[in-house]
């Protein structure tokens, strides 16, 4: 069965004016126009938007504009070289569709984020990373060519070896250098479409860091879930999951079937996510992992995309929505950095349902690409009165450690803080000035963080 995807976060019912939001469900006035023909659609539009999974304001129009170009109808595969894995497709193709078509044939995206509800264009714009970052780096490293509409109206091709300044500013550039129309990437051969997973319950954060570092050379995919409410000796306890594609003799003969998805049908009230309920959830999740060490074959969707099983899970966070805070703490900050960060988080009462820790490898070549060698920590925060202050304090800690945050998740970082985290920003702005001197392309996020004209 083929799958049609609608962008999430578009909303016409109920409001007099159409509204748009990111995955964190904070609405602004705006609407999406869609067409199969991206070349004509993007002619006078300030920003492209894929499936709307950026948490914050990355895919929202700046305050003076209302319209963004929705790319999801432009979803054709244009060429595939089955000898080497080179695949070219239009930017609106979803990862869900790519997986549906290619997993059974023994191919997988070189880098996968934690959801399949993303488009190729979005994956380039955010330069997404996955559980294999310590080994394979970001998505952009596996992209050979981009076809783009740039600010002067031209349509150009770029890559590492062709208009490389534009390419490097676009990979991780949050769509601010132009509209991405087509993407050419190298798919990865896999022995079977099933995952061999080993998972281990871990007692505290130091043990966690060691276990992640130790698993890195042995496993292509590693990720940890941490209980970020526990303090003291239990701080940073959690579950480490390691995986690799199962070799043929181990894997079930049949390809995995698409999993059934359970929708969260409506917005839950705010009191559902109290400190107590989150604590209970974390406690259950931790102890449910029995015995302490488990191994076996798992479905690729439950390994890579556990949250995709719940449609609209962002409704759990209630009417005020939520934000995700994701930062990377560099190796130079030492092994204690994660402990210091968690200590601050638990002291400030930042309760998170899900807290994910990942081992990052080399920095990507994208000028604003997020990961760098170190540990990445991601947590979901329901929006409350004190959220801005909490993000500020976390950001100050991250700056002190020499780390940085992920734009695709952000909606609260202050411009000054971002500048302190990002020594590469000046170079990126310089390239952007060359390609788009009048700031034709901009988003709510670029106005907030880079001071673009509204």
């Amino acid at each position: 069965m083929s799958t049609t995807l609608n962008p999430t976060g578009t909303d016409r019912n109920g409001a007099a004016e159409p509204r748009l939001c990111g995955w964190g469900r904070r609405y602004v006035p705006g609407r999406e126009i869609r067409s199969e023909d991206l070349e004509s659609l993007t002619r006078d539009v300030v920003l492209s938007r894929g499936l709307g999974r950026a948490y914050g304001d990355s895919a929202l129009p700046p305050p003076s504009e209302r319209v963004v170009a929705g790319t999801t109808l432009a979803d054709r595969l244009l060429s595939f070289d089955a000898d080497h894995g080179w695949l070219r497709a239009e930017a609106g193709l979803s990862l869900l569709e790519l997986n549906r078509l290619f997993l059974p044939r023994g191919w997988f995206t070189p880098v996968s984020p934690g959801t399949q509800f993303v488009t190729l264009g979005g994956m380039v714009a955010a330069d997404v990373h996955g559980k294999n970052h310590h080994r394979d780096r970001c998505f952009g490293e596996h992209v050979r060519r981009l076809k783009m509409r740039v600010a002067d109206g031209r349509i150009v091709e770029c890559g590492q070896d062709l208009l490389s300044d534009l390419f490097r500013a676009t990979v991780g550039g949050m769509g601010l250098t132009g509209h991405i129309l087509e993407v050419e990437l190298r798919m990865k051969r896999i022995p079977s479409p099933w995952i061999w997973q080993e998972s281990l319950r871990i007692h505290d954060i130091d043990e966690f860091i060691d276990a992640l570092k130790e698993s890195g050379p042995k496993w292509p995919y590693t990720v940890g879930w941490i209980d970020c409410l526990s303090r003291g000796p239990k701080m940073g306890r959690g579950i480490l999951m390691c995986g690799r594609w199962a070799e043929r003799p181990l894997a079930p003969r049949k390809p995995p079937r698409l999993k059934k998805r359970i929708p969260i049908p409506f917005e839950l009230p705010e009191w559902v996510l109290s400190r107590r309920s989150i604590k209970l959830f974390n406690e259950l999740y931790y102890w449910k992992h029995q015995p302490r060490f488990k191994k076996g074959i798992v479905h690729p969707e439950s390994f890579f995309y556990p949250l995709d099983m719940m449609l609209h899970w962002n409704r759990i966070y209630g009417p005020r929505g939520f934000t995700q805070y994701q930062c990377v703490l560099p190796e130079s900050a030492g092994r204690g950095a994660a402990r210091r960060f968690l200590d601050l988080l638990t002291r400030k009462g930042g309760a998170s349902f899900l807290c994910v820790i990942k081992d990052c490898g080399e920095e990507g070549s994208g000028l604003l690409s997020f990961p760098r060698r170190g540990m990445s920590i991601a947590l979901d925060i329901a929006i409350r009165d004190e959220t801005q202050r909490l993000v500020d304090e976390l950001n100050e800690e991250v700056i002190a450690e020499g780390g940085r945050i992920y734009l695709a998740k952000d909606s609260f970082t202050r411009p000054g803080h971002f500048r302190s985290m990002e020594p590469r920003l000046e170079e990126w702005l310089e390239v952007r000035r060359r390609w788009d001197p009048e700031q034709k392309f901009r988003s709510a996020q670029s106005v907030r963080l880079f001071g673009d004209r509204p």
Binding site: T4, N6, I33, L73
Partner: protein, 245 residues
Amino acid sequence: MRVVFLGATKGMGRALARRMAERKDELFLLGRNLQDLEASAADLKIRGGHERVNVGVCDLEDSDRFAPALEAARAAMGDVDAVVITAGLFAVQEKLESDLDLTRRLLTVNFTHTLLFCEHARRMLLARGGGTLCVFSSVAGERGRRPVAIYGASKAGLSRYLEALDHRHRAEGLKVVCVHPGFVRTGMTDGLKPPPFAGEPDEVAHIVLRAIDRGTPLVYAPRMWALVMLVIRWLPRFVMRRVGF
């Protein structure tokens, strides 16, 4: 199945052609723009994992090209089992009212030329002893409604023709499948406010493919629209006038 497909590059046609390619049907795509056709052919070949997709230029506005285009398709595939037409024009009522040239174009394409294309296809299919002719009409033609007075009229005429065509030739082996899509979220309807029960192109494709296989003469997609239209067909005129839709 060997299928000639007019309108496979966009919207519901794209979704239906994908399902056909994935189940290894052979396709010959007809459309206005060769480059666009070739991109769609590449997409279908990769999805289907086979090479049996060819293309030819044929514009619904140019009725002289219908016969040669169908003949080219037949020659390329050897034989034709089914002809599918999803192409058509759409514009909102206000735009049509203010631009009579556009109105003329829309009526010509959606009614006169689609009917002429069907006549050529009918002859070709009957000559080989039958086959399936599947044409996308619309629920917009079932009642006279304010927002689709002109578009609806073009589709109403088309539906009546398809109904009669099915009666006329079913015994000779020609099955005519008339599709009445409800509101479907495609590029064509982008910018319109979706009503309740708005559908997705792939949902429609799934239903239509079954209808083609079974030779269902009239099919609503998404299915809910059969019920919606049942109610609307029976609404008295004074009610239609009051509700203003």
